[in-house]
Symmetry: C2
C-alpha cells in the first residue's frame, strides 16, 4: 500500500480510538464506542485527509472534520441496522442485538451530536461553510435512507430513482468528506466543487460495485455471504434492472420468489442469479460502474493542482473500483 | 396575559409553522411537521426571546436560536416517546403509533440536523459559543434520558441522583434556551451565566411541579389523566421519596403494587396516593419546588440589568410555578 495513505490510515485509526474515550455513562457510550471499534475501511475520513493533502495542506487541520464524518457515518449504520432489522455488521452483532433498540436509538443520537462537536472544532475561518455542507449532506442521507425504505414497498422503482437514492444515501457523504478536506486545505471553491463531484461519481460507482459483489463476488475474498441482498429482497441496481428487463414469464417467477415467505436460501439465490445472468446484468452493471469511474476521473482532471498531487487519489479510487470485497 | 409575551408567542407560533414547510419527502418530513404542530407551551423558544429581550435586544435576532431549541425539544419528545412506548402525546397519537418506529427514528434524526441548521443561522459573532452551548446541552439531554431509562430498572435511586437526572433531561435545555437569548442579546458572559442558572433552577422546579401535578393536579384543569406516572411506575420525585421514607410494611406493599402486572388502575392510584399522603409528600415536594423557585429568583437578582426589565421573566416563572396544568 501507498505509504502516505497507510500513514493517514494510522492517523485516523488512532484518532477514532479517542472518540468518547473519556466519557462516563457506559450505558450511553459503550454502544457508540463498540460500533466505532468494528473498523471497516475508514474510507470517508481517509478521503478527508487526502482532500486536504491534495491542496498541499498539512492533514492535521482536517482530522476533526474527518472524525465528524466517520462518527456520522457510523451513526447512520447504527440507526439503519435497527431500521433494517440487521443482525450482523462486520461479522459482529449489531448494536440493537448486543444491547437493545433503545440503546441503538439513544447512542445513535449521541453520535450525531458528537459529530457536530467535531465539526465545531474545524478551523474557524472554514466553520460556516463546513457546517453548511455537513448539515446539507446529513439531511440528504436521511432522505436517502427514507427513499431506500420507501422502495422496499415498491416493485416499480426506476433506474433513475435508484441512482438518486444511492446518490443521497451513499455518494454525498463521500463527496462531502473530500470537499471538507479540500476547503480546510485551502482549495478555491471551484476546485472544492470539482473534488465533490469526483466524490459523487466515485460514490455511485462504489455502491454499484457493492451491489455487484453481493452477487458476483468471490466467496473466498468477499468477507460476507454471497447473495445476502437477494435473500432480503434488497432493491439493488441488479434487481431493479431485472424487474425492468425481464420477460413476462421470467418476471412472474421473479416476483413469486420475491414474495415467498418460505424458501431454500441457496435455491432462491441460484434462481435470481440465473435471471441476472440471462439478462447480462454483470456486464451491464460493470459498464455503469465504469461510466461513473471515468466521469470521476474527468472531475479530477479539471482540478487545478499538479497531476503529480492527484496520483494518490487516482490510485486509491482505482483500488476501490477493482476491489474484491 | 402580558402583551409582550403574547407577541413573542405569536412570533414563535408563526416561525414554527415555517419549519420544514418547503420540504418534499412527505414520508420523512410529515412526522416532524406533525409533532411540531401539536403545540404545547412553546416554553423554551419563548424563553430564548425573553432572554434576548432582557438585555434590550430586538428579538428577531434570536428567532433562529429559538427555533433550534424547539425543534430539538420536539426531536427528544419523538424519540423518547418511542423509547418509552408512549401511545399519546398532547391528546394525539405519538409518531410511532400514527406512522411506525422507523419513521419516528428517521424523522427524529432529520430534526436534530434541522436544529443545527437553525443554529448555523445565529449571528456569526455568537456562532462558536452558541454552537458549543447547544451541543453540550444536547449531549446532556441524551445522558438524562439514558439515566431515566437506567432508573427504570432500579428501586434504589437516590434523591440526588433523581435531581441530577432531571437537571440533565429537562433543566439544561431551559437554561440553554435562556442563555442563547442572552448571548445573542449582547449580555456579558457573567450575566448570561446567571440567566442560565436561573433557567436550571426554574427547570428543576418545573419538572418537580410536573411530578406533583400528576398526583395532586385538579382533573378539571390538568388536561391529562391524574395518576399516569403512578400507573407506569415512573420514578418521579414522589415515588423515589416514598420508597425511601416509607416504613417496612408500607414499602413492602408499595413494591408489591409496583411489580403487579395485573391490577385495577383506580385502585393502584388510590393506594400509591395514600402512601404519598401518609408521608406528607405533597408538602415535601412543594417545599422543594419553592426552594428552587427562590434560588431562581436569586439568580435573576444578580443579573445587572434594571429591575424593570426583569418583570416579564418574573411574572412568567411565577405563572409556571403556580400553574395547574
Amino acid at each position: 500500500m501507498n505509504p502516505k495513505v497507510a500513514l493517514f490510515e494510522k492517523i485516523m485509526a488512532d484518532a477514532i480510538r479517542e472518540v468518547f474515550a473519556q466519557e462516563q455513562f457506559p450505558t450511553l457510550y459503550d454502544p457508540a464506542r463498540y460500533i466505532l471499534s468494528l473498523g471497516g475501511k475508514r474510507l470517508r475520513p481517509l478521503l478527508t485527509l487526502m482532500g486536504a493533502d491534495l491542496f498541499g495542506s498539512a492533514v492535521d487541520k482536517a482530522i476533526n472534520a474527518a472524525l465528524a464524518i466517520e462518527i456520522f457515518h457510523n451513526f447512520t449504520l447504527l440507526h439503519d441496522d435497527l431500521m433494517d432489522r440487521a443482525d450482523m455488521r462486520r461479522g459482529q452483532p449489531t448494536v440493537h442485538k448486543k444491547w437493545n433498540a433503545n440503546s441503538a436509538i439513544l447512542s445513535g443520537d449521541a453520535m450525531v451530536i458528537e459529530a457536530y462537536r467535531y465539526i465545531a472544532k474545524v478551523p474557524p475561518a472554514s466553520l460556516p461553510v463546513i457546517m453548511d455542507l455537513f448539515s446539507t449532506t446529513a439531511m440528504q442521507i436521511c432522505q436517502g435512507q427514507q427513499l431506500d425504505m420507501d422502495f422496499e414497498k415498491r416493485m416499480d422503482v426506476s433506474e433513475a430513482e435508484y441512482i438518486e437514492m444511492i446518490r443521497l444515501k451513499t455518494a454525498v457523504l463521500i463527496g462531502c468528506a473530500l470537499k471538507m478536506g479540500a476547503l480546510i486545505g485551502g482549495a478555491e471553491p471551484r476546485d472544492a466543487d470539482c473534488l465533490y463531484e469526483y466524490g459523487i461519481n466515485i460514490g455511485l460507482a462504489f455502491q454499484l460495485k457493492d451491489d455487484l459483489l453481493d452477487v458476483y463476488g468471490d466467496p473466498r475474498t468477499f468477507g460476507k455471504m454471497i447473495g445476502g441482498d437477494i435473500l432480503c429482497n434488497k432493491k439493488t441496481y441488479l434487481l431493479i434492472k431485472a424487474l425492468k428487463n425481464s420477460g413476462e414469464q421470467q418476471k412472474k417467477m421473479l416476483l413469486l420468489w420475491l414474495s415467498a415467505s418460505e424458501f431454500d436460501s441457496a435455491e432462491k439465490i441460484r434462481f435470481v442469479k440465473n435471471v441476472y445472468d440471462e439478462l447480462n446484468l454483470k456486464v451491464i452493471t460493470g459498464n455503469l460502474i465504469e461510466k461513473y469511474y471515468l466521469a470521476s476521473l474527468d472531475c479530477l482532471t479539471s482540478i487545478r493542482v499538479s497531476e503529480d498531487r492527484k496520483k494518490d487519489l487516482m490510485e486509491f479510487s482505482e483500488n476501490l473500483m477493482y476491489r474484491e470485497k
